[in-house]
Symmetry: C2
Subunit: 192 residues, 2 copies
C-alpha cells in the first residue's frame, strides 16, 4: 500500500538484487528529503544515505532531480512539447514496468500525519516543478495568475494520473491525462 518509498522500512545492506538496489536508493532519498528538504538534497548523496553503490543512482533514476530536467526541457521545447515529452517518458516506463508505476514523491506526500517534515518536503518538490512551468507559460504569453494556476493543474493531474495508472496496471490513464492537459493548454493559449 505505498508507491515507491516504503513506510519506515529499514533496508539492510546485505541483499544485492536489483529490487533491493532500488529500495536502498529510495530509503536514501527518503532520509535526505526528511533531513534536508528537496532543495537541499543532492542526488549524489542519495546512494550514500541508502548504503547503495554510487553508480546505481544513474541506473535507477536516469532523469536526475526532476526539476532540473523540467527547467531545461521547458527552456528548449516550450510547455506543450515538454508536457508531451514527459508524458511519453512516464508512459514508456509504465508500459515497461507496470508493477513500478508511481511517483516516489507521492509516497512521501502520504507521510502526513506521521511524518510532517517528509510530507512538507513532498510539497516543496511539487512546488519546485510548478514554478518553472508557470514561468514558461508566462514567457509564452499567459497572464501570471492563470499561468500559476495552470502549472498547479499540471502537477496535480500528473500525480493523479500516475495513481490511476498504478490502479489500472497500464499507461492509459497517463496518456489520457497528457492529452487532456495539451487540450486545456491549447484552449488557454487561444483564449489568453
Amino acid at each position: 500500500m505505498s508507491v515507491g518509498i516504503e513506510g519506515s522500512k529499514v533496508i539492510e545492506p546485505k541483499a544485492t538484487g536489483p529490487r533491493d538496489g532500488r529500495d536502498r536508493l529510495l530509503a536514501g532519498a527518503r532520509k535526505l528529503l526528511a533531513e534536508k528538504g528537496y532543495a537541499g538534497m543532492e542526488l549524489r548523496d542519495v546512494a550514500a544515505a541508502g548504503k547503495a553503490p554510487r553508480g546505481s543512482i544513474y541506473h535507477h533514476f536516469p532523469g536526475g532531480k526532476r526539476h532540473d530536467t523540467i527547467e531545461r526541457a521547458l527552456g528548449e521545447l516550450g510547455v506543450k512539447q515538454t508536457l508531451r515529452m514527459f508524458g511519453k517518458v512516464f508512459s514508456r516506463r509504465a508500459a515497461d514496468h507496470p508493477e513500478r508505476i508511481g511517483c516516489p514523491v507521492a509516497a512521501a506526500a502520504l507521510a502526513r500525519p506521521e511524518d510532517p517534515a517528509l510530507a512538507a518536503a513532498a510539497t516543496a518538490a511539487f512546488q519546485s516543478w510548478e514554478r518553472p512551468i508557470a514561468a514558461a507559460l508566462e514567457r509564452e504569453g499567459v497572464g501570471a495568475e492563470k499561468a500559476e494556476t495552470f502549472a498547479g493543474l499540471v502537477v496535480s493531474t500528473i500525480e493523479g494520473a500516475l495513481l490511476r495508472a498504478r490502479a489500472a496496471g497500464s499507461q492509459a490513464p497517463l496518456d489520457s491525462a497528457v492529452t487532456g492537459l495539451e487540450q486545456a493548454l491549447d484552449a488557454l493559449v487561444a483564449t489568453g
Copy 2:
C-alpha cells in the same frame, strides 16, 4: 503510508471510538470492493461487512456512493457549478479534518500489485465518476472525444490534488486545482 483504507489490517469489533467506527467502515468497503466491485457494492452492506453499526455509514460517508451524487449534481447544476460544489465540499472537509484528507479509492488504487482485484475496483470507481461528467459536457456542447478526455482530466486532477492537500495538510492545493479546472473548462467551452 496509506490514504483512508488501511492495508490488510483486520478491525476487531470490540473498540468503539469514532476513529474505530470509520476504520471498520473502510475495512467493510475494502472487502466489498474486492468481492463485488464498485458497481455491485451496496452502501447498506458496507456497515455489515465491517461489523459496524448500520447508521454509522450515514455519519461517516454522508455523500453516499459518489457517482450517484455526481450524476444528480451534474443534471441539476451543470459541469462548472458541480465542480465548484464538489471543490467546496472537499475543501471544507479538508479544512475541518486536515489529518483525514484523502480519497478512500486512492488507497485501493495503490493495492496493485498485491491485490489486483481491489485495484481494478478502484479503476471502475474512477470510470464511474468520469462517465457522467463526459455525458454532461456533451449536453453542454463539447464534442464527444474532448468531453471524454476532459472528464478523465477532472478525475485525475482531483485525485492528485487530494494527495497534494494531504502532503500540505491544507485545502489550498484542492482550491487551486478546482480553479484550474474551471479555467480550463471555460477555455474549452469557448473554443468548442
